[in-house]
Amino acid sequence: MKIGICYTLVSAENKMLIDAAAKRGAEVERMLDSECVLPVAEDAPVRRVSLPSVILQRSVSFTRSAYLTHYYETEGAQVINSSRSAAICGDKMLCSLQLSRAGVPTPKTYVAFTPESAKAAAAKLGFPLVMKPVVGSWARMVHRINDRDSLDAALESREEMGNPWQKIYYLQEHINKPGRDIRAFVVGNEVIAAIYRHSTEKSGWITNTGRGGTASKCAITPELREACLKAVSFLDEGIYGVDLMESERGLVVHEINHTTEFRNSSPVTGVDIADRIMEYAIRRAKS
């Protein structure tokens, strides 16, 4: 049994996955994305590469992982998560659109392509609002915009950036969350663990643990389970980190992460998330 792990860096999560595979007697093929040379087209006959039957896609680069996953799938490997799912989860507009159309409670969201149209979108939402890049993670460039002056400054900054993704203006309703949000882990069709992510003086209004937020255990209530499973219902079965906020209208889902991190979550939940992921990958490889 060989499980591929495709990665950019050996993060804490990837080491935990490698250890989990060893404990389960599964061989790991390390697939460092920076070293990959993909034989996309060669002289006939095309040489088929030998790949693990299941590959866990853990590359931190959304762009590299998109190409790699597409390639691996074309060569017949099962990739977790699939290219289709990653494309949706990795783009906040696509994800919000799918959440909304699937009837999953999610914050009101508008997307615009110029500063002028972004201001029109802001007028629909009112202040405060949240502006995020459509591609990106770890709460980078995620701004709470409290008034028109702040919006003007943020839009001007974004216009000066070279990356065209930064000129896609994703504006979202600000949810007055109680100093915390929820990250729930879905493996296959099961919600295996959940944490509260608390904002701190260091993290400011943001709750991301990589930015100084702290984690504590969150009970998996029937409401939380239902919201998470509905949130991933339009995605291919896989491994997801679903982000939710507690609002006056109940739980709302604002993001789904397709290469979810969990280094801070296993200790506080008591769930060996790496082992659950590896168990699932092995099951998929046998199916």
Binding site: Y7, T8, L9, V10, S11, N14, K15, I18, R30, L32, S34, V60, S61, F62, T63, P133, V135, G136, S137, W138, R140, N163, W165, Q166, G241, N257, H258, T259, T260, E261
Partner: protein
Amino acid sequence: MANAECPECAGQIEIAANAEVGEILACPDCGTRLEIRSVSPPQVAPAPKVEEDWGE
């Protein structure tokens, strides 16, 4: 345990026996983020910078 040399300050960096290529370390002398490029022989290089499309 083997040692690699920091490319920035020539400090000695311990590479654990279970280290993996691609693992990120900080030089204990100068704090530079380093990526393990080889375990045997032990070699490190400055870690790649976080790109805009990196994340989870």
